[in-house]
Amino acid sequence: MMRSSRPSPFHLVFFLLGALMLLFVVAPLVRITLDTSTSELADAIHDSELWGSIAMTLRAAGIATLISVLFGIPLAYLLAHHRFPGRSLVLGIIDIPIMIPHSAAGLALLTVIGRYSLAQKAARPLGIEFVGEEAGIAVAMAFVSVPFLVNAAREGFESVPVRLEKVARTLGATPARVFVTISLPLAWRAIVSGMVLMWARGISEFGAVIIIAYHPMATPVLVFQRFNDYGLPYARVAAVILILVCVVGFGVLRFLSRPAQRETG
């Protein structure tokens, strides 16, 4: 008999290292939550500044995500489907926002959506102001988080077997019809998970947001401001509530977008 029931030293070492990795992620989150008393949390229920900030942050990140879908999905589809010269350059460009310091990203954005920029002049007649406004926050969030959406959607499209699309063409479907009836439904789960990722990343953005707008205060900025002005205990409550909102929110979204269990006849 093989001693298959006893774990090998190799597995023990990996288990230990893996567990430490997990602890590293979980410990700060658990600790900050446990350090916050229920009375502090109860008081925070009436903290309208905090809730207003959370609502605005979720909304701005949501709008950033939805608008990015309109432009990001076509880009993702083209990148998944076509091998054109400069494709890898485009792939590299998409990833730039992830790699540069986000405060620098904010400054760079300011040069194209600043008060006297072309974009601002074009947007003003529509009643949209960027600097110091929620629209600007959404732009900052979009800039730093859109790679998550584009990459996830691209991988989703890439995972659709090309033959399905080819067969659909021979059955008489135009490229647009193939996209709507085959590519999009089959990549949909990946796209949704990319949207969730982008939204989450947008909500948590601090660096770029604070450059574009200190006020209205996005929650990460609010947490920073309270920590700066009043110290850890006061900032901690806001932080814990934002963490809880995110964890619960994304838990729910993950649950809703889990693979569908279709009838197996």
């Binding site: 021979t170 009838e263 006849g265």
Partner: protein
């Protein structure tokens, strides 16, 4: 002629189609056979319009369709893995093409059901493709392709994803459907038997070239060259030197082949027409050689026995009964006898 390919060229990675000409007749079942990796799928995709050729012309009923998009060609394709849409039920798969052509929902449903009945998959209509067996998937794919009444159906290794028994049944199905509908079929495969059983004509593709295209009978009667003959599984092919007296010399053995009109460079001695005997005997057969048994193996219902005639190794096909009666061991001395007419020269 229905479909005509003129010097189609395509290079794609390691694959190279150096210029292919092919004519397919209306209502024909044409099978292209060749080893895996000679780009048979690429050729089908070029015909379907799913991939542009680097050069060359494709015409359909006299019209140049080289630049037409696939949805305007009306050629169906069926892939080896069937490529069923996994997020749609069987019926949704089948009506897909009809809906794309703006056939109304109710009519599409009726036509899909008629086709499904024809292919005996009516009970499957509400199932999801991943829950189907290989044979069921194949029928669904066939139904999906046929329901739009394509002028031409391209089949890419349609039988290689299922086991031998099922493949035999599906082969019959394909033949029957093609005969009933009269749709032009172009089928590619690596399986010689499949090609010979299904094709009205069979094209042998080697190294990206269409080496010979003929009826199965003619392919065996007159293979164009040694490689084609080898690929078709023909045994006992030898390079031969034609001599004046009705003999030829192959591997140092003088074989009587009779007077042949044309020059030839190869002989093929049909393995099933060689008689093995313990003693020599008088007969009208002009070729009789002493030989010794090398080894043997079992092939389906026959035994393939190899015997050495000098430097030449001959394959001989025997029934089990004859093999047992002969009762030989390796090294046993026998006589191999065959008629001149059993030798094909080319």
């Amino acid at each position: 002629m229905t479909l005509e390919l003129k010097s189609i060229k395509k290079s794609l990675g390691a694959f190279d189609l150096p210029g292919l000409d092919l004519t397919v007749n209306e209502g024909e079942y044409l099978v292209l056979v060749g080893p895996s990796g000679v780009g048979k799928t690429v050729l089908l995709e070029i015909i379907a319009g799913l991939m542009p050729p680097d050069a060359g012309r494709i015409s359909w009923r006299g019209n140049d369709v080289t630049r037409h998009p696939p949805e305007h060609r009306g050629f169906g394709i069926m892939y080896q893995d069937y490529a069923l849409f996994p997020h749609m039920t069987v019926i949704e798969n089948i009506v897909y093409g009809l809906r794309a052509k703006n056939v109304s929902k109710t009519e599409a449903r009726l036509r899909a059901e008629a086709t499904a009945r024809e292919l005996d998959i009516l009970p499957l209509l509400e199932r999801m493709p991943p829950t189907l067996s290989g044979g069921e998937q194949q029928r669904v794919a066939l139904a999906r392709a046929l329901v739009v009444t394509p002028d031409l159906l391209l089949l890419d290794e349609p039988l290689s994803a299922v086991d031998v028994r099922l493949s035999r049944r599906l082969r019959g199905e394909l033949k029957r459907v093609q005969e009933e509908l009269g749709t032009t079929f172009v089928h590619v495969t690596h399986d010689v038997r499949e090609a010979l059983m299904l094709g009205h004509r069979v094209g042998v593709m080697l190294d990206g070239r269409l080496r010979q295209i003929d009826t199965p009978a003619k392919l065996f009667r007159e293979p164009s060259d040694r490689e084609v003959a080898r690929f078709l599984g023909m045994q006992n092919i030898f390079a031969a030197q034609q001599q004046e007296d009705g003999f030829c010399e192959a591997d140092g053995v003088r074989i009587h082949v009779g007077r042949r009109e044309n020059g030839y460079r190869h002989v093929w001695i049909r393995p099933e027409e060689i008689i093995l005997s313990r003693d020599s005997f008088e007969s009208s057969a002009r070729n009789q050689f002493r030989c010794s048994v090398v080894d043997w193996d079992y092939q389906d219902v026959l035994v393939n026995l190899r015997v050495a005639v000098g430097d030449m190794t001959l394959n001989v096909l025997l029934t089990y009964a004859s093999f047992e009666k002969l009762d030989v061991a390796p090294g046993a001395e026998l006589h191999a006898t065959f008629k001149s007419s059993s030798v094909h020269c080319f």
